[in-house]
Symmetry: C2
Subunit: 189 residues, 2 copies
DNA sequence: GTCTATAGTGGGATAGAC
DNA sequence: GTCTATCCCACTATAGAC
């Protein structure tokens, strides 16, 4: 499971291609070309095309899992926890904007244990977030609306951040955090 | 360009498969099997696999284009326009939840004129929305935050609605509209 | 309109020389 | 570690019988 520098480079290059065309439409030959080598040579570094996807998706999923665990266990109010989750997503997006496309759109092409692990991590993540929202509602910090609507309106925005973060001329991360927290928590009116 | 009933059925069945695996990972054989026929027989009804995607994506894109045109030209306040856009997305999502996956994730596999047309429709749509937001800010109806952050936080949520609308046990459409408008406009605090 | 058969292409992956 | 050559398979699409 240890990653050589070369393997990291392959995964990075591949993630850019996956973002553009999706996992299924990218061939091993495409990835090899991006690395400046032939497809056969790639197999000295990786076991299969799927392995690239697994590393990409599961590593990133673990980042989110660790991030929310740290938020969950910290001794702050539900509302502050949600702020930290927003910042967590922004930080991960800024550092992994290519890989997030695969996480969002190509995870279903994982197989076996990897697929099971990923789905479990994603469900656990949503469940942690859901609990924080419900706690906030009970404490009167959050409006008593359908928790599922709150959960997914925030999460949808955070999960697709990668799509426009690059495009829109390098917003300063701290400005972005401030505005996102404001819009997502206090609305626009 | 006229659609036979059979062609509509093919597009509908295909969109369910595209939602599950993505356009590239769905074969013409898969679509044929779903129709209860062999792949070769499909070609009596369609010109190519791409044609299915084009019909799917462009028809739906036109629905959004028509919808926002009607909102744009109606004689109501910017805030009311945004409410109507939210309702437009919910209505389209409820009636086309399968096809929306292809619209969001597979449009890049369009080619030629179809790709150009789609990208233009999407940009025009965003520009219409952006103008409404800016107008709202100028009139003091909307908080003076980065319009791009507002645009994409709302649009991200609306565009990925299809992912969880089905899953979450058939929320009543009117309740959904009410809660979505509340959360997206007035936040959760 | 549906089928079988098949053309033609490109996919993932391996063998073995260098 | 990289290459050429190749295997085998799945893909889109077509031809032609029924």
């Amino acid at each position: 499971m240890k990653l050589t520098a070369r393997k990291v480079e392959i995964v990075t290059k591949a993630s850019r291609l996956f973002k553009e065309k999706g996992y299924s439409a990218v061939s091993v030959r495409d990835i090899a070309q991006e690395m400046g080598m032939k497809a056969a040579s790639l197999y000295n570094h990786i076991e299969s095309k799927q392995e690239i996807l697994s590393i990409l998706v599961l590593d990133l999923a673990r980042d989110f899992t660790c991030g929310i665990a740290s938020v969950r266990e910290s001794n702050i109010s539900p509302l502050e926890k949600i702020e930290q989750i927003i910042e967590l997503h922004i930080d991960i997006t800024v550092n992994n904007s290519e890989a997030l496309a695969a996480l969002n759109n190509d995870w279903m092409h994982l197989e076996g244990e990897d697929l099971i692990d990923f789905v479990k991590m994603r469900e656990d993540y949503e469940e942690d977030f859901r609990k924080i929202i419900k706690e906030g509602v009970e404490l009167g910090q959050i409006q008593p609306r359908h928790p599922e609507v709150i959960l997914f309106s925030i999460l949808s925005t955070l999960r697709t951040l990668y799509l426009w973060y690059q495009k829109r001329g390098k917003l300063d991360v701290n400005v972005l955090k401030k505005d996102m927290v404001a819009v997502l928590l206090r609305g626009i009116v």
